[in-house]
Amino acid sequence: MRAVNLYLAIPLLLASALLQSSVVPTVMGVRPEIVLLLVVAASLSGGMEAGVVWGFIGGLSLDLFSGAPLGVFTLAMVLVGALVNVGESNLFSTSLLLPLGAVFVATFVYHFLTIVLFQTLGWSIGWGPAMWQVALPSAVVNTLLMPLVYFFLRWLTRLLRGGRELGW
């Protein structure tokens, strides 16, 4: 799978943000971040271009349903979507270890960027509790869920594109 279509990205990411803000239950005190998982999966399988576009749409969807100022999650997701692919994924793209390792690191990077943005905007979020009580459990939960999301996205792309793999 090289990537996933833009027309798939918009409804899928918007629906995921909607689910994340309504149905998805908390696990280990945190809510699984489906949108982040999809962005990482798209970036790994579709390249940096897909990562950036999916990051933009996913972040914007999260911003819509969040009390945070519009742009916080968009900015963080675009950067995560781009950074995930910096190490060039082709070498590992067939291995399941790459998505697992990538999402674990990406969760920390995403939370790090979000905290920096919140603090820049004057919101009071402390580094210690944010990293230990939110980022760490989120990274564990997201890593556990990644295989499901990764293979779901691969399956969906093949289904929609009749086996062909397209750019975003």
Binding site: S66, G71, L79, S124
Partner: protein, 292 residues
């Protein structure tokens, strides 16, 4: 300055030209999206952008339906897992109900006596009755850092920005921070950026109740020497004008008092389970005072 900018642009162009077509396109897209995000952050000044409100207005009913469906499904697993525990709890609760029934009878007598004394004295009630608008919680903040909820009532129903939200008439939940025609976003008192002026019911000691990332509450700035104990009830003090007086915030679960510090701190358990809110009430006739 101009020379520096030209130098940056030419270096950027050189680096982009060294990348493959796909990589350079991705880089340009990333720059465009980052600039757009920064522009949104700088331009909105705390207000939702026009398109944002429209999308939320359309999606609010869908979010409500999903939330209801999720509650139904989410309740199944814990119910099965805790069946035996529930049986024991049920028996304990039955015994407690009997005890409380007896107490209610006694309290009813006191209430009648109290009412008659008030009438004799022409006494104004300390707790005014508020105009409460019931609302359903239809969504939560997707971020693990923030504690906000969406409710299915908005400006069309008389909700205003800053309106106070409670559960069961007097248990403080939060306040409205963002408003649409058919939805409102409520910042819970457990959000890390929430702070409420509170007081300990028994000792009248004042402090500020802040939310934590974990969803717990901490009461800070309680003067040394004030008596604070586990189990004390914490109420809103009304100071600052953002919240009405005497709403119940929670109960003290632990006190941290060190002689070398200026103030004491207390952990406070919210009076209502803020993670499982379903129905809340918006106080429509309380307008917060914003001190300039």
């Amino acid at each position: 300055m101009k020379r520096e900018i030209e130098s940056y642009v030419s270096r950027f162009t050189f680096h982009v030209s060294c990348l493959s077509k796909s990589q350079s396109r991705a880089l340009i897209l990333a720059v465009v999206f980052v600039v757009l995000s920064l522009a949104a952050l700088l331009l909105q000044h705390g207000r939702p952008l026009p398109g944002e409100s429209l999308i939320l207005r359309l999606l609010a009913p869908v979010q409500g339906m999903l939330q209801r469906a999720g509650r139904g499904l989410g309740g199944l697993w814990p119910d099965l897992r805790e069946a035996s525990k529930l049986r024991e709890e049920n028996e304990a609760l039955r015994a407690e109900v009997e005890l409380l029934k007896a107490r209610i009878v006694g309290l009813q007598e006191v209430a009648i006596e109290n009412q008659s004394l008030r009438e004799q004295l022409g006494f104004q009630q300390a707790h005014p009755t508020y105009d409460l608008l019931p609302a359903q919680v239809i969504g939560r903040d997707p971020s693990n850092f923030l504690r906000f909820v969406f409710i299915n009532k908005g400006s069309n129903d008389g909700v205003h920005e800053g309106a106070v939200v409670v559960a069961q008439e007097s248990l403080l939940v939060g306040r409205v921070v963002r408003l649409g025609t058919n939805y409102a976003q409520v910042m819970l008192i457990s959000d890390a950026s929430s702070s409420v002026n509170g007081l300990i019911q028994s000792s009248r000691a004042e402090g500020v109740v802040n939310g934590q990332l974990t969803g717990r509450l901490v009461m800070r700035y309680i003067p040394q020497g004030e008596l604070v104990q586990k189990g004390d009830i914490v109420l809103t003090s009304g100071l600052g004008g953002n919240f009405p007086k005497n709403l119940i915030i929670g109960q003290v679960t632990a006190v941290r008092q060190r002689d070398i510090e200026l103030f004491q701190e207390a952990d406070v358990a919210p009076a209502v389970n803020l993670g499982k809110l379903e129905i809340v009430f918006v106080i429509r006739d309380f307008t917060p005072t914003y001190l300039e």
